[in-house]
Structures are given as C-alpha cells and as structure tokens.
Symmetry: C2
Subunit: 128 residues, 2 copies
Amino acid sequence: MTMQRRVILEELAKVTSHPTADQLYQLVRRQLPRISLGTVYRNLDILSQTGMILRLDGEGQRRFDANANNHYHICCTLCGRTDDLQMKLIPKLEQNAAKAGGYQVTGHQLEFQGICPACLAKADSQAE
Amino acid sequence: MTMQRRVILEELAKVTSHPTADQLYQLVRRQLPRISLGTVYRNLDILSQTGMILRLDGEGQRRFDANANNHYHICCTLCGRTDDLQMKLIPKLEQNAAKAGGYQVTGHQLEFQGICPACLAKADSQAE
DNA sequence: TTGCTTGCAAAGGGTTTGCATAGGA
DNA sequence: TCCTATGCAAACCCTTTGCAAGCAA
C-alpha cells in the first residue's frame, strides 16, 4: 500500500459520485501533484481486483466506487451521473443464473438507466 | 432501411453468439465485400437506438444482440463469450428502482459474470 | 541489492467523424 | 435535383504498456 494507492482510495471514499479514472486523477493531484494517470489506472486496477473497490463498466467511460459491497446503480442517460440505489439485493439470483446457464457464476451487476432529477427538471423548464 | 442495414440485421439475427462490431463486420463482408466498419458501427447505433437490437456495454468490447426483448446475459470472464439466460424477468424491478432513486427509470440491464462450460473444462484439464 | 511501484510518454485498440461520392426518392 | 447513407481514412479518446528511475525492505 503505497502513498499513491492510499490517497487514491481515500479520495474515492470521500466522494459519493462515481468518478471516472480521470476525475479521480484530478482529485488526487491536489495532494500528489506529480502522480500520473497511469498510476491511477494501475492502482484502480489492483484495488478492484482485490475487491476493495468496485469497477463499473457501463456504457461510456469506466467509473469506480469505493463501496465494494454488492449494490445496484442507476445511471442517467443524459448526463452520465451514476447513483447508488438503496434497494434490497435480490435473493438467490446467482443460483438461478447458474441453473439457467451452466456457468460457474462469480458475480453479477444490475444497472438501471433513467433520467436523473436534475435532468428531468432541466427538460421540464425547457419544455415550457 | 438500406441494403447494408438489412444485411447487418440479418447476420446478427442468424447467430446466437453476441458478436462484437468487428465480428459482425466480418460476417457481413461475405455478402457485401465493400462495406466499411464505419457503416457497421453507424447502423448498429441506429438499430439499437430504435430498439430493434440490444447493445451490451459490459467490460471490454461492446457486443450486440438481435433479440431486443429484455432478457439477461452471462459473460465469461475468461474468454468473453456471452450467452442469453433463460430466466424469468424480475417483476416490479424498475418500479422499485424508481422509488429508491428518484429517477425516471427507462430500463435496466442485469449481467452475470462467470466461467463458461468450455473454460471450466479447459481449467480442469490443465489442473490435472 | 532485490523487487515492486512510479512518472513519463508512447502505443494500442475500439469507436467516432469528416468528407467526397453514390444511390434512391 | 436533393438528401441521406456509404466507403474510406483519419482522428479521437480512454486505457494500457515499456522503460528507466525511485523507493522500501
């Protein structure tokens, strides 16, 4: 756990948004001005492989989440904003999938698409 | 609906795999040797925007599915193979998400990760 | 020293885009 | 003719990688 890795993890944990690698790079740079984007990518890779953070591979740019517990996300199709959902996990989901597909199931991701409150408001005001 | 778009749609419908844009390009080229990758991308874009096909934005390369009905997928983390799952859709999922997130929910994607039968067999034989 | 991590910069690879041309209404 | 879609190639952008230098054990 190097200084760089620690700061990356801390900054990711601070924000509730789900930043892209580049956004996180900008945040981390305020503390470590000489850090490189490559290092950010490398550490995000390691952290997600060890299960300390979550990697969100939706459409567009990859995003990261310091909350590694399995939970679901919703992503705004207009602005790209991604939020956590306070929703119960669906029980027995992976067992069912294993039964249906013959795979050895190791995980799952559930992502909703929609329009976030801010974009809804914007669309409303423009419609007037 | 141009000739190109028709052939792209037909070829996509023929295969049960979920090809990448490039794989589909190879297939389509057998019938339209002068078609370009750009055209394939452009048409896949249009087709998915109009809801005629599905766009799968998991990790790695984008994949496409001629079956636009909502259904779930499982993707092999070793070889990238993607299969449909014969699984009941989860009822009221989007209503629950809307309640939990304040978004206007327009859709969702559920994707499982796992190891496909072929890769399981390969891993087994190598372990011996 | 030894081995891993960094910073830097270049390469990589999938996807998008500009533009002149072709084809259909 | 007018307009849209195409082929071609270049541009784009995010991500990965090679390598020499740095740091810790």
